[in-house]
């Protein structure tokens, strides 16, 4: 079988092996596949040493011609592999043997193998080891045939993944129930189902030297600013990291202001949200292996919007939006204001209120600031415990939590009842923020504000607020000002900032989208009967 006459050892000696190098793929990019199957088998086994999930199946592909089928168990669709590959090859072999076609035996052409016998659609051939390894890692089954220095790769992506289910982090009352999954192609398909246009582009990039994670930048050509898309691509390509396991890795490396507590990218589990954002001229970054799709550029107000805002009638939406803004204020300032007014500015409160607070605080051993910090930190701990704990233990946490932040703490004289109310209010308030990453920012900023209030009173709160405002107004997300809508002020954008105008009024896309194609609706249609003769 050594048709080229080389010894089996020679290439092994000449080539750095995977184990020796640590990083097999780059160094093997330029190494050609040998004709000798034994050499090739050795090579593969050497590269994938100690990889118990590799499957090597020797098989006769044509009478007297040895072949080797290699794949990684679990990540390939084994049924498909069985029906469309192994079965046809064996059956073909039997047929060939029965026919006793000698010429075929002597010159077994591989062409018929992929064209006639294997009925799989995604076929590639490779002559370099690098491509073979990449293919194997990307769920391909590889066939090596003795005497040929060309490998055939059949993509049979499969294996068990989660099916499309309702997104857990972004629940809605009204709206689609499907959510992204961990599979990139399922996710892009979910988006493609929504936007059936060739203008919906999906540019692919592979990131992570080890993980080789597929990343797709998606946008609508003509709606997204082309400069911004180029910038995004450049930022993504600049990433050099061993692995991308979640879109969060990418987020931290491409955002404009890495040291800002404010999120500069939105993430979503909902295809409808992603589609809506693309239609407003934004881009989406899909990362294989996570249901969270990154969306940029974002504004503060966008993070205050839930997808349902656009599905429910605008009266309700506006009401809820205002409640949300009110509660963001509460979540950020209420504990700080309480501390400032009770420790510095008692004269600012109504007399009866100040007396009842004083009555409740009478036996409390801590200053208001310490009391507030104790409560807020225990609340955060409680929340964190609730997220991490298995669901079966969750109930225990809520019972204990109710004791810690509740009547028991008040009766023990450790915290005052008004403080329990303040902390509970803040907790509820922070949960009304639709985007979790913004909610966590607000929670975080509450602590410096509380300390400022405890040290400097209202003056401290004002300082903190000024700092936050200054910071937020100079923030950008992919060049778009974070406060777009009010700073810089733009009338059209304001139809979707503090109010949500009815759909028939929102005729234009946001100002940061591509300048060419801004019109959303050609004509204002609001159901006013055109003719009275209809009924």
């Amino acid at each position: 079988m050594k048709k080229d006459g080389t010894t089996p050892d020679k290439p092994r000696m000449a080539l750095p092996t995977g184990r020796a190098l640590g990083l097999p793929s780059p160094s093997l990019d330029k190494v050609p596949i040998q004709k000798d199957l034994k050499v090739n088998t050795e090579m593969l086994k050497d590269i994938f040493d100690d990889c118990s999930d590799m499957v090597y199946r020797s098989m006769e592909v044509a009478p007297g011609v040895e072949g080797l089928l290699v794949y990684v168990e679990g990540i390939v669709f084994s049924e498909e592999l069985q029906i469309h590959m192994i079965q046809p090859i064996i059956q073909g072999l039997v047929r060939l043997k029965n026919e006793g076609d000698e010429s075929k035996e002597q010159d077994p052409d591989l062409e018929p193998l992929e064209n006639t016998r294997v009925s799989l659609s995604q076929v590639n051939s490779a002559t370099m080891w690098g491509d073979v390894i990449e293919g194997l890692m990307n769920s391909s089954a590889v066939i090596l045939v003795d005497g040929y220095s060309e490998a055939h790769l059949f993509n049979v992506k499969g294996g068990l993944r989660r099916t499309v289910s309702e997104p857990e982090t972004e629940a809605v009352i009204r709206g689609p129930r499907e959510g992204f999954t961990e599979m990139l192609r399922v996710n892009t398909a979910l988006l493609r189902f929504k936007i059936k246009s060739p203008r919906l582009k999906m540019k692919s990039i592979v990131l992570g030297t080890e993980t080789k994670t597929d990343v797709v930048i998606s946008y609508i050509e003509g709606l997204a600013n082309p400069k911004m898309i180029r910038d995004v691509e450049k930022r993504l390509k600049d990433i050099e990291i061993d692995g991308i396991l979640e879109s969060g890795y990418i987020e931290e490396m491409i955002e404009d202001h890495p040291y800002s507590p404010f999120p500069q990218l939105q993430y979503t589990e909902r295809p409808d949200t992603a589609a809506a954002q693309l239609l407003e001229g934004r881009f989406a970054i899909f990362t294989d292996g996570t249901p969270f799709v990154l969306i940029g550029p974002v504004t503060f107000f966008q993070l205050m919007q839930a997808s349902e805002d656009y599905y429910e009638r605008f009266f309700i939406t506006n009401f809820i939006r205002w409640i949300r803004y009110l509660f963001v204020f509460i979540a950020l300032f209420l504990p700080a204001l309480y501390i400032a007014t009770t420790t510095y500015h008692q004269d600012m409160l109504p007399s009866t209120l100040v007396l009842s607070i004083a009555a409740a605080r009478e036996a409390i051993p801590f200053p208001a600031l310490v009391e507030a910090l104790i409560m807020e930190i225990s609340f955060e701990a409680l929340r964190e415990a609730g997220v991490r704990l298995p669901k079966t233990v969750g109930q225990a946490v809520s019972i204990l939590g109710a004791l810690v932040i509740g009547q028991a703490a008040v009766e023990a004289g450790i915290v005052s009842a008004p403080m329990v109310i303040i902390v509970s209010m803040t907790g509820i308030a922070s949960f009304t923020i639709p985007r979790f990453n913004l909610a966590i920012t607000v929670r975080l900023l509450r602590f410096p504000l509380m300390i400022l209030a405890g040290v400097f009173g209202l003056f401290g709160i004002v300082l903190g607020t000024v700092w936050i405002l200054v910071h937020v107004t100079q923030l950008t997300s992919f060049g778009v000002p974070y406060m777009s809508g009010i700073s810089p002020f733009h009338v059209q954008d304001n139809k979707d900032v503090f109010v949500r105008a009815p759909w028939w009024k929102m005729k234009r896309r946001p100002s940061w989208a591509s300048k060419k194609d801004r019109v959303r609706e050609k004509k204002e249609i609001n159901g006013t009967p055109q003719s009275n003769k209809v009924w």
């Binding site: 004083a358 009555a359 009478e362 005052s416 003056f459």
Partner: protein, 408 residues
């Protein structure tokens, strides 16, 4: 991580900028700080205070809330519940000024006195007789001493009223505040009091408080409560007397200060009484100046309803209603004239602001009277012109529960 050029360029400039901005921001921090911190349970909230005169000194009494006795959750174990269940603590000291008297009280108090929640300021009548202007300064000088406290004059010593029982409220101050609010449409706060003091042609009138028996003597334990019994009249800043009873109430109406006064009219034929409540009322002054002759018309417009009729006559028909209105008008005219007589001649106190009205209508004429207004004021001729409308006689037309009904 790959540093991006566009954000990293000019690092030094940015650092400088931030350093300068940071320093600028930090500098005012020295102005405030935790040394100003006053925890809410280190503060003694003064909810009411009184001023009296004693041997030429000020006697100040402060009513201090005791949060420990207010019944807040978790306050059972704590607090300085010294006065046996009372929700306040009354302390009184003397001093050569009001401030020094208050500081004497502070000296005996573990908590910091805070005057920002003072609901009422009571002035004893003896003190008021000598003039209230000297003590007013400290209220405005320190903004913490709220100018929105309500002011009243008490019959007898003011601190006695502060300590009187107010079973409905936690504090007598709170009760007094509510009483004053009920008595006048626009209660006189310290600020308004000073305003009136400073205005030419009008004298101060404050609610006049006294302690009244709540039950007839000899029934169980005697009970007292605080009541607004009239109007305390001032000449300039000196208390000159009180207009009590019906006179005080009717002058309140003429001053356009009565929220909804009741007028009691004799029943037809002089039998029984009918009370009418004027829930909507307005009083206006119209001066006519001819030379040195001043005529002041007090126009009283009021809408009301019959609330009680203990006579046995029907008042539901047009004729008797008009008759009732006429008699109510006469009643008002009589009472106002009577009260005006004592205001003009007995007390010489222009609490209705005749002078101010003349100034508003005819500033030139006012210049003539300004110098000797106190002499001119008693000579002003007063005409009372009521315009009353009784719009409702209640749910029953005929007197309720009467066998014999008069219809005339």
């Amino acid at each position: 991580m790959v540093p991006r050029n566009q954000t990293r360029c000019g690092d030094m400039d940015m650092i400088k900028k931030w350093a300068v901005a940071g320093l600028l921001l930090l500098s005012p921090l020295a102005l405030a700080g935790c040394w100003d911190r006053k925890e809410i349970n280190d503060v003694a909230f003064v909810i009411g205070s009184s001023v009296d005169k004693e041997n030429g000194m000020y006697r100040s009494a402060l009513q201090i809330a005791l949060p420990g006795n207010l019944g807040g959750a978790g306050s059972k174990g704590g607090g300085g519940g010294t006065s046996g269940g009372k929700s306040y603590y009354l302390e009184s000291k003397t001093g050569i000024t009001l401030r020094s008297a208050n500081m004497e009280i502070q000296a005996g108090n573990s908590r910091n006195l805070s005057f920002s929640h003072r609901r009422v300021l009571l002035i004893g009548e003896d003190f008021a007789r000598d003039g209230i202007a000297p003590m007013l300064d400290q209220f405005a000088r320190i903004p913490q001493n709220r100018l929105s406290s309500l002011v009243a004059v008490t019959s007898g010593s003011a601190y006695k009223i502060l300590d009187a029982a107010a079973p409905m409220e936690q504090f007598s101050s709170e009760m007094i505040r509510e009483l004053i609010n009920e008595f006048t449409k626009r209660p006189d706060s310290l600020k308004q009091l000073v305003n009136t003091l400073m205005t030419d042609g009008v004298d101060v009138a404050l609610p006049y408080l006294s302690i009244q028996e709540a039950v007839p003597p000899g029934v169980g334990t005697s009970k007292n409560n605080i009541q607004v019994t009239g109007l305390a009249l001032f000449d300039e800043d000196k208390f000159v007397g009180a207009l009590e009873g019906q006179e005080g109430k009717i002058i309140n109406l003429a001053m356009n200060q009565a929220p909804s006064p009741d007028i009691i009219v004799d029943g037809p034929g002089g039998k029984g009484h009918i009370s009418i409540r004027f829930s909507e009322n307005e009083a206006k002054l119209k001066p006519v100046v001819r030379g040195n002759d001043i005529t002041m018309t007090i126009e009283i417009y009021a809408k009301g309803a019959v609330y009680e009729n203990d006579s046995n006559s029907i008042i539901s028909d047009e004729h008797s209603l008009r008759d009732l209105e006429r008699r109510a008008s006469e009643e008002i005219v009589d009472k106002v004239q009577l009260a005006m007589r004592s205001l003009q001649h007995k007390y010489n106190s222009d609490i209705l602001g005749f002078g101010r009205t003349i100034y508003e209508h005819d500033p030139k004429a006012w210049q003539r009277f300004k110098g000797n207004w106190k002499k001119v004021y008693p000579e002003v001729r007063v005409i009372v012109k009521p315009e009353l409308h009784i719009e409702n006689i209640g749910a029953v037309g005929k007197p309720f529960g009467r066998k014999e009904i008069r219809n005339d």
